[in-house]
């Protein structure tokens, strides 16, 4: 069923169609309406059109886009749903793409539909606010072709990803994505391959950010009586040194952590190293700057950049005093004002590349 926009259409015709639909549906009421009836719907005659908010409309657009992404309908759906000036700000595998670009790795890599031939995208979270739709999804499939320089391993992958879509007049104008690249490398059991020129760099482009305190002051100056506002305020406060204690419930026990941000860096390190050089100790000057905050219903999402200088060892990786600026998503669920679940998802591969030093040993500690 295609979405239809009927602005400016003949209302009398619409009313007639609706009346016909009622008449037809009235005739078929004698049998069990919950059985075997779906194929008998007079869908063309009955088609009624429902008004929805811009956010809900955008959600449906993104849903349709994501459903078609790994099918042969992709180009058709892209032509329909992407704006003429559509811009992909960040690719799902931005670091691997940037690392391969302009090197022999890019020459040997296959397109996505060959590299992960049976790729499926399973979206489990939609958060729409104003012109934004933020999603969380899983990319699953089998590594069947050369993926940014890594030859096919035949291994199954199932990794987390997040994306932000901006829409205008029902079309997608921009997309910013982040897939769990470190998770991919661990699941296929391969290190990031070396470039011929020996360069190791993270994808450099950044979204504008603001400090948690700044955003907090702005929000407090413009209070709204909505659950979404209150949830966003709590999430904002978590990243605001000045307002954290003032706003947040000191009882953190109500919250269930579903995933920690730089999961792979910590998970792949030996336990004694994690204990001796914990994540929290590696960046004494850490500041988290917020790129995006959005909320809908019980959900709220944040995208921020962890910025710091790596002055102490991070879980055993020798500190080289380099500046780090790594993205992290936070997907939160509230029940009323109670913050119940958090799921953090950081750019592990970007951080590893920014830390410098040898990369190999991280990705050879395969878990499967």
């Amino acid at each position: 069923m295609k979405m239809k926009r009927i602005r400016g259409q003949n209302l009398a015709l619409m009313a007639l169609l609706v009346a016909m639909g009622l008449l037809i549906s009235g005739c078929g009421e004698t049998k069990d309406q919950h059985t075997g009836s779906s194929h008998e719907e007079m869908s063309s005659a009955m088609e009624t059109h429902y008004p929805v908010s811009e956010e809900d409309y955008n959600k449906l657009v993104v849903m349709k886009y994501m459903e078609a992404l790994s099918t042969s309908l992709r180009s058709e759906v892209e032509a329909e749903l992407l704006a003429d000036d559509y811009q992909e700000i960040r690719k799902e595998f931005a670091n691997m793409d940037y690392h391969a670009a302009g090197s022999q790795l890019a020459d040997i890599s296959d397109p996505m539909n060959v590299a992960i031939a049976n790729r499926r995208d399973s979206v489990d979270t939609y958060i729409a606010e104003d012109d934004l739709v933020v999603i969380r999804y899983r990319i699953s499939g089998v590594h069947t072709g050369n993926f940014y320089g890594i030859p096919a391993t035949g291994k199954a992958v199932d990794i987390l990803a997040g994306a932000i879509f901006w829409l205008e007049d029902g079309k997608i104008t921009k997309r910013w994505s982040m897939a769990d690249e470190a998770g991919f490398l661990r699941q296929v059991g391969q290190p990031l391959p070396a470039r011929a020129d020996g360069r190791w760099e993270a994808w450099p482009t950044v979204l504008p950010t603001r400090t948690g305190d700044e955003l907090m002051e702005e929000a407090l100056a413009n209070p709204q009586d909505t659950q979404e506002y209150r949830n966003k305020l709590q999430l904002n406060a978590w990243k605001s040194p000045t307002y954290k204690e003032q706003v947040l419930d000191p009882d953190q026990s109500k919250r269930t952590g579903l995933r920690s941000g730089f999961f792979h860096i910590v998970n792949a390190a030996p336990a004694e190293m994690v204990q001796q050089y914990p994540f929290a100790g590696a960046f004494p000057d850490r500041v988290d700057n917020i790129a995006l905050l959005a909320a809908e219903g019980k959900r709220a999402v944040i995208l921020f950049r962890l910025t710091a200088t790596n002055t102490n060892s991070l879980v055993g990786i020798p500190a080289q005093n380099r500046p780090v600026s790594a993205y992290e998503f936070g997907y939160q669920e509230f029940d009323g004002d109670v913050w119940k679940f958090n799921l953090w998802f950081g750019d592990d591969l970007g951080m590893l590349l920014q830390l410098g030093g040898p990369q190999d040993h991280w990705f050879q500690t395969e878990t499967d």
Binding site: M1, S38, H39, Y50, K64, N118, S122, D124, G297
Partner: protein, 323 residues
């Protein structure tokens, strides 16, 4: 807000069901239920219908605590949402931990993450009926407990609701009103797979019609059966007269949903469970995915606890040995 956007009834219904599912395990649920359920709303089947039916009118029901106490940290993760006609189908996972008495089973503190599926029927933007099924056998395995006994010793599956017709009849009815769409073609193919006498050429002569099976309908029984060397004693083996009856089908975009029941007489062992000759009539729901006309994969999900209860005999050994 910018100018009003207008969508089809099916897309509208999907948004309603998504909103409903999002609020299912929150304190806002009663409020959202009033808003989204019609005044004559009927719950045709509940998620844990066998456990509910088994506990009803016994001491088990007296001990049972409400869902927000027994799984206080419950989350529902929706991964498939599709609509056709007045129907919406959802595939989701129920996650959380078992912290209170669940239909007679005292808290174990164990984490659960089980499959579930639901069908919703809507009229005028309200939900008028729903049919749900959670993986009760998966729940019991996750908490490592058998279904507790009732004082009266009764072990019975919840009775099935909703009419269904044979795959042949369903297919004939579909073909009597053909549609010129890929979705209709995909629906025919899935229906043909549940038909005893599909039209010639519709299904491949040999091998599977699909490329990949993602989940088997009776996966717990098959998995436990395999540990006892009875992995190949599947439903066609155990029910030589097996007949699948179809209740509902739906196609949208690349997906097809089929809602059917496995019926038959248990004349041979099912995955090591001794055959007692009982007749069974058990729900199953499946989600298929296509790319164009190519059937990519299929995900089956059967009522395994209902099957075990209908087979009869001792129930305990399935759930005590599985931790």
């Amino acid at each position: 807000m910018a100018g009003a956007q207008v969508v089809s009834e099916q897309d509208y219904n999907k948004l309603i069901v998504l909103h409903y599912m999002e609020q299912l395990s929150t304190a806002s649920y009663p409020e959202v239920a009033v808003q989204l359920l019609s005044s004559d709303y009927r719950e045709i089947r509940s998620e844990f219908e066998n456990m509910r039916y088994h506990a009803t009118d016994s001491i088990l029901a007296d001990m049972a605590e409400p869902m927000d106490v027994s799984i206080p940290d419950r989350r529902d993760v929706v991964d498939i949402l599709m609509a056709e006609g007045d129907m919406v189908a959802v595939r989701y996972r129920i996650q959380g931990s078992h912290q209170g008495n669940f239909f007679g089973i005292p808290a174990t503190g164990k984490p659960i993450d089980i499959d579930a599926a639901a069908l919703f029927w809507l009229a005028d933007g309200k939900i008028t009926a729903s049919w749900s099924m959670a993986d009760e056998a998966g729940f019991l395995r996750a908490v490592g407990q058998p279904l507790p006994a009732r004082p009266d010793g009764r072990y019975r599956a919840a009775p099935v609701q909703l009419a269904a017709v044979s795959g042949d009849e369903f297919l004939a009815s579909l073909m009597s009103e053909p549609e010129d769409s890929q979705e209709f073609q995909n629906k025919l193919l899935v229906n043909a797979y549940k038909s005893k006498h599909p039209p010639a050429g519709m299904l491949p002569d040999s091998g599977s019609a699909w490329q990949r099976i993602v989940r088997h309908g009776f996966s717990h029984l098959a998995e436990i059966g395999a540990t006892m060397g009875a992995g190949d004693q599947n439903t066609p083996y155990a029910f030589p007269d097996r007949l699948d009856v179809v209740s509902n089908m739906m196609a949208e975009g690349k997906r097809v949903m089929i809602h059917f029941r496995v019926t038959g007489t248990n004349s041979k062992s099912l995955h090591g469970i001794p055959a007692l000759g009982h007749s069974v009539d058990v729900w199953e729901i499946a989600f298929a995915e296509f790319d164009g006309g190519v059937w990519q994969d299929i995900w089956f999900f059967g009522d395994e606890l209902g099957m075990l209860l209908q087979l009869g005999g001792p129930q305990d050994f399935w759930f005590s040995a599985t931790e």
